[in-house]
C-alpha cells in the first residue's frame, strides 16, 4: 500500500514533502522526523496515531506553522510556509487555523463566551459580529447554556468543548487538534471527537488530529500510523479495511 495515499484527485489542503526535524538533547541529536512526506485532504478528519515520542506532535506543529522544519517543504492552502517569517506564520494562523490542545488552556478570568470572542478580536471582527459568531459556535458545541460560566465551573469535557468553540468561531479552513481527548473520560472524549468529525463534514474544514487514543480511530476518515518519525501505515476507515487488524498491527495503538 502506498503510505502517502491520496484521496482521489482533490487538491490537498496540507502538503509536506521531505520534511525533517531533529532536536539536541544534551550531547545527543535526536532525529524526530526523517524526510517525511504526506498530503492531507480537505474536509475530512485525518488522525495521526502513534506511540509517545514517534514525532506526531512535531509533525502537527510543523504542518500548522507553529515551528519550522529543518528541511523539506510545507504547503498549506496553497501557501508555502517553509520560508515564511514568524509574523507571516502568525498571520497565516490567524486567518486560516484553529487549534485544540489537550490542556484546554482557557483563561481563568474569562467566561466561556469571552474565551470564544477573544481570538475574534485579534481578527478585527466587530463586537456585534464577534458576539454572534461566539454564540453560534457555543451552540454548535452545545455549550451556549454555559456561556457565562468560568473555566473553574466547567467539567473537563465542557472546557474542551469551549476550546473547540474558540477554534471554530474563527471559521478556520484548517483545524489542528493535539490529543484532544486524552484528558477526558470516555463519554466526553466521544463527544469531542464527534464534534471534530462534524466540523470536518459540515464546515468543510480540514481537521488534523494527533492522538494515541484508540477510541478516535473509528471516527477518523483517514488514519496515519506513525513510528520513529515515519508514517508506517495510511488507511481510510470508510474502506473495507479491518480496523481491529490495524489496531493489533500498529504499535502504540492499544
Amino acid at each position: 500500500m502506498n503510505l502517502q495515499q491520496q484521496s482521489g484527485t482533490a487538491v490537498p489542503a496540507l502538503s509536506a514533502s521531505g520534511i525533517s526535524k531533529s532536536f539536541v538533547s544534551g550531547l545527543v541529536r535526536i532525529q524526530v522526523l526523517n524526510h517525511l512526506s504526506l498530503n492531507v485532504m480537505p474536509a475530512e478528519l485525518t488522525l495521526i496515531a502513534g506511540p509517545s515520542g514517534c514525532g506526531k506532535s512535531t509533525l502537527l506543529s510543523i504542518l500548522s506553522g507553529l515551528q519550522y522544519s529543518d528541511g523539506g517543504k510545507v504547503v498549506a492552502l496553497g501557501e508555502d510556509l517553509t520560508g515564511a517569517s514568524v509574523s507571516e506564520l502568525e498571520h497565516f494562523r490567524l486567518k486560516h487555523t484553529g487549534f485544540v490542545f489537550q490542556g484546554f488552556n482557557l483563561f481563568t478570568a474569562l467566561t466561556a463566551i469571552e474565551q470564544v470572542e477573544l481570538p475574534l478580536n485579534y481578527l478585527g471582527i466587530g463586537k456585534r459580529e464577534a458576539r454572534e459568531r461566539s454564540i453560534e459556535a457555543l451552540r454548535e458545541v452545545d455549550m451556549f447554556h454555559r456561556a457565562n460560566q468560568f473555566p473553574a465551573e466547567l467539567s473537563g469535557g465542557e472546557k474542551q468543548r469551549v476550546a473547540i468553540a474558540r477554534a471554530l468561531a474563527k471559521k478556520p479552513q484548517l483545524l489542528f487538534a493535539d490529543e484532544p481527548t486524552s484528558a477526558l473520560d470516555a463519554s466526553s472524549g466521544s463527544t469531542v471527537i464527534n464534534l471534530l468529525h462534524k466540523i470536518a463534514r459540515e464546515h468543510q474544514t480540514t481537521v488534523l488530529c494527533v492522538s494515541h487514543d484508540p477510541r478516535l480511530i473509528q471516527h477518523a476518515d483517514r488514519v496515519l500510523a506513525m513510528e520513529d518519525g515515519e508514517i508506517r501505515r495510511d488507511w481510510r476507515t470508510e474502506s473495507d479495511f479491518d480496523i481491529n487488524e490495524h489496531l493489533h498491527a500498529t504499535k502504540g495503538i492499544h
Binding site: 506532535s57 512535531t58 502537527l60 506543529s61 500548522s64 507553529l66 515551528q67 514568524v86 509574523s87 502568525e90 498571520h91 497565516f92 494562523r93 490567524l94 486567518k95 487555523t97 484553529g98 487549534f99 490542545f101 489537550q102 490542556g103 488552556n105 482557557l106 483563561f107 481563568t108 478570568a109 474569562l110 469571552e114 470572542e117 477573544l118 481570538p119 478580536n121 485579534y122 481578527l123 463586537k127 468560568f150 474558540r166 477554534a167 474563527k170 493535539d178 490529543e179 494527533v210
Partner: protein
Amino acid sequence: MVSLARKSLMREWPRYLPAILAICFAGVLLFMQAALVLGIFGSAAVYVTTSSSDLWVGYPGTQSVNLGRSINADVEYLLRMDGNITAVEPLQWVDADWRSPQTSGGVSVYVIGINPNQDGLVFDQVLDANVRQLLHEPGAVIVDRADLGQLGVETGNWALIDGKSVHVVATASGLRPLGGVNIISSLDTARQLTAGRDKTRATYWVAKLDDPKNADIVRKQLLSKPSFGSYEIWTASEFALRSQFYWMGDTGAGVAVLFMAAIVLLVGLVVASQALMAVVISSAREYATLNALGAGMAALRRVVLEQAAWIGSIGLVFSIGVSTLLLSIAHSRDIPVSITYQMILVWVGVVLGIALLSGLFAMRGLLRADPALLLR
C-alpha cells in the same frame, strides 16, 4: 472587545496584589521623600516663601537667606522711586545666643527683625495682624511652637538674647528654618539687641509690586539704574530656589536624596516586574494558545503592558490614599513636609513609569508562551 488585562485583574486580583502593593509602597516612599525634601529644604527659604514680598535686595553673592550681610540703607530710595513698587520694608537678621532658665548653656538662634505693622510683608502668611501687633512691645518675640522645647520657654516667659531680656508673647507655626531657630521680633527690638555691634543696618530690603508677574522686569530695570551701593536683587521665587539649592548642595543632601530615590525606584521596579512576570508566566500556556490562534506577540505584549498600566493606576490610587494620611500625620506633628502641583505631576509620572517599565521587563515572561511547547 474583550479586555483580557482588565478582566484578569478584576477576576484574579489576589495574583496581582504583590505588584500593586510594590507600586503602592514605591509611590508612598517617593511621595513622602519628595514632600520631606520640599518641606525640609523649603524651610531654608521660609522667610521668602511665607512673605508677600516680590523682590528681595541683599548683599551681592548671597547664596542663601541665612547668609545675608547688612547693606546700604540707600537701597530703600532706589526701591521707593520705582512706580511699580507699592511697599518697601527692611528685614534685620541677627545671629544671636538664647538663654532661658530651662536651657543649660546657650542656643544659637536667628533673630529676624520685621515690620510689625498690619501691612508688614515679611512672614505675613504665618503671622496674622493680631499676632504681629504684639511685636510692638519692646523686647517682644514670637517663636515657632515646635521650638518651645528647645528654647526652654512657654508663651509668656522671659529669656535672654545676647544678655538682653526678651518676652515670648506668642507662638506661631511654619517659622522653623533649616539648621537653626527663628526668633521673630520687631525691627526696633532687633536693633536694640544689636546695639553696640555694627549690625544695625538692614540685612535685606524687600518690596511688593503692584503686579507680581512683572517681578523679573522690574528687577532688571532696577539693576540698570545708577548704583545705590553694593547690592543684588532677586525675585522672591529666585531667591527661595537659590537658598534651597544652596542647602541641598552644601549639605550633600541633594545627592543623598537622589541616591535614596534611585534605590526606591529600583526596588519598586524589581518587585513589581517580578510579581507581574510571575503572573504572566503562570498564564504562559493561555498566551501560547492565543499566539497559536494567530494573536501576534506584539498583541500579547500590549496585554502585559495594559496590565502594567492598570497595576500602576491602582497602585497610584492606593499610594495617594496612604500618602495623604501620612501627610496629615506629619502636619499634625509639625514635621516639615510640603507638596507642590509640579511635584505631584512628576510623582504621578514616575509611579506610572515604574509600572510601565515593570510591564516591559515582565514581557520576558512571554518568551515561555511558545505555542510549539503546547504540543506534547
